[in-house]
């Protein structure tokens, strides 16, 4: 196991990464003040892992209230959030009751938001069970639910007390979900670490075969970069925006097709290629660079051709992006491979990208 530390102005928390961590109540106990926890998961993950964790906690004399939610991005809504509140109140959970998120990014984002709002702030713990959640959503304190008019539109910044990323939990993860997680891993290489991109090109096969050493290294490297960026800019006033590489395009794909049609990671992957293509048209990347982005996505088993939403719909959907400022959409682009920047894009360039070679021809 290795432990990273995320240090912020008001708090600081450990991120434990390794194997055989799910039964390790000792990693959680220092962060559970009152001996009552709500263990929140979904109908897919709970049957696999909830009982183990519950037992480990109950062995330590902790009162565990399991809450099992429906599975899927479609359920990342107020209604599901309210199921958490209902259960917490029915079980008389207090402001000191710790909420534990056991699941992927959907569970993590919702449980984090619920914890932030329950009696104006209950402690919470992240136990991410997808690669995507381990490398991205469980770290950094972004929480949210979706709104019909935009993804993750309603949420707050709220940090967990500890993150435990156990590679063993990925054994049961479907291949498609693993690939989606790899998109966010690739993102770290593209936006800030060219050497890591090289390592990924060499080790993609091992990652897709769920080699634990390789996965562990990828998660560590990703989390270290995320922790570093978040510690500089917790509330995304500046550099943290770079972590949204591929996300402005990606969110439009997710919303345009209906949340859950493409996986978040898939949409981000295809979105990164559109960002790369945009960067090329603006003169910052070479054609070889763009091809390298395309190739690593393909190696990871990710789609590279975005759906044809129609330019008007693309623009409409992207205009709801949280980075929009004074009416202008702001994109994360690549300055060079391994270095990202925020920029606006001239209308004609956008038009070209959104009707270009990386958009599906119906």
């Amino acid at each position: 196991m290795i432990t990273l530390d995320l240090t912020l102005p008001d708090t600081r928390y450990p991120i434990h990464i390794g194997q055989q961590l799910l039964g390790r109540a000792d990693l959680l106990l220092p962060h559970i003040k009152h001996k009552k926890v709500a263990l929140i998961s979904n109908t897919t993950v709970a049957p696999l892992y909830l009982a183990n964790l519950r037992q480990a906690l109950e062995n330590q004399g902790i009162n565990v209230i399991p809450i099992v939610l429906p599975d899927g991005e479609d359920f990342k809504t107020w209604e599901t959030l309210n199921q958490i509140f209902d259960a917490l109140l029915q079980h008389r959970c207090e402001r000191n009751t710790t909420l534990i998120a056991l699941g992927g990014g959907v569970i993590g984002d919702m449980v984090g938001f619920a914890a932030a709002c329950y009696q104006r702030g209950a402690p919470f713990i992240q136990i991410p069970t997808t690669l995507l959640a381990q490398v991205d959503s469980s770290v950094g304190g972004k929480t949210a639910i979706n709104h019909p008019l935009g993804k993750n539109m309603i949420g707050v910044f709220y940090q967990p007390r500890v993150v435990v990323a156990d590679m063993d939990l990925l054994d049961s993860l479907p291949e498609r979900e693993l690939s989606a997680g790899l998109a966010e891993v690739i993102k770290y290489g593209l936006l800030g670490n060219l050497a890591f991109l090289g390592w990924l090109e060499q080790n993609m096969e091992a990652l897709r075969a769920k080699d634990k050493q390789a996965l562990s290294y990828a998660v560590q490297t990703s989390c270290a970069m995320k922790a570093d960026i978040v510690s500089q800019d917790e509330k995304e006033h500046g550099v943290r925006a770079l972590l949204n590489l591929g996300h402005t395009f990606g969110h439009a794909i997710e919303a345009g097709l209906g949340f859950g049609t493409w996986l978040h990671g898939e949409a981000v992957g295809a979105g990164m290629l559109l960002a790369a293509e945009t960067s090329r048209l603006l003169g910052n990347l070479s054609e070889a660079d763009v091809q390298r982005v395309k190739a690593i996505l393909e190696q990871a088993g990710l789609p590279t051709i975005s759906p044809d939403l129609g330019v008007a719909t693309w623009l409409e959907l992207m205009s709801h992006d949280k980075k929009v400022s004074d009416g202008e959409i702001r994109f994360v682009l690549l300055q060079t491979l391994g270095q990202a920047q925020v920029a606006t894009v001239p209308q004609d360039v956008l038009q070209q990208v959104l009707t270009g070679r990386f958009i599906s021809k119906a």
Copy 2:
């Protein structure tokens, strides 16, 4: 006009108190970064004051989006909150759009919560239009909505950029609402300022006649005490809990009768008398002290006899209080008149209070 300053670890904001402030766009402009605001009010307050404020802002070139919500504590719900989000997204409001709350505590609490959650945090401004909101809810950053199982159960701490309390707006405030606000004013005297309690006893008539000088002094003194306490303890880990004098009992009254039957301030007033009675039974207040509490509440036009919810219901409702810790209800009681403390109460004393002389005999 006088201006108080609330200083917190991460922020600092002015509280302007005086007359003829509604048209003073100059007080708001320094706190509006992007020239777009959502002006949020309700069906009662909007017809009275929204046009004035809107005009003042539009004269400064600000794009104003009015959002008018249904009126009442019954509507302090997720559904109403969602009406705000719907409107913000339909009008393409950005993370930088400023939300202005123009109304009483219900509007202030909901708009604050909406601002906290909209795209993970939009700026917001409080323009309180009830006495209660001016002396209490608009200051300090508590935001919330209600849950069927408990009042203000879902919310966050989120501070406004500026608070503007204009005494002139109270001209239209119904008498009963004025009295409810006076309950929170009296609270400040009881919990921490005996001299102010004396001043209130002398000036209650002027306050109820809406004498602007008297109101202004009461609001200033109340806000100054609140600002002082909040600046010591923003997130209510300690001293801030004292501001909940009367509220554990009061919230049970509100929930027990159905939100909106008694006004919040009325419930808090009657709750303070129950807290005083409890303090007497515990040997801290004299009978004369309790009578003094009763008398000032009567002077303010407030009910002093709480409904008979039945002991079991009282306890059940109070067990949902946010101050509950390890299953024990914690009350704010009076150590002496003018000094509050947090304590637990033996079951038999509680029983006695909840069936005693300040409970209505059916």
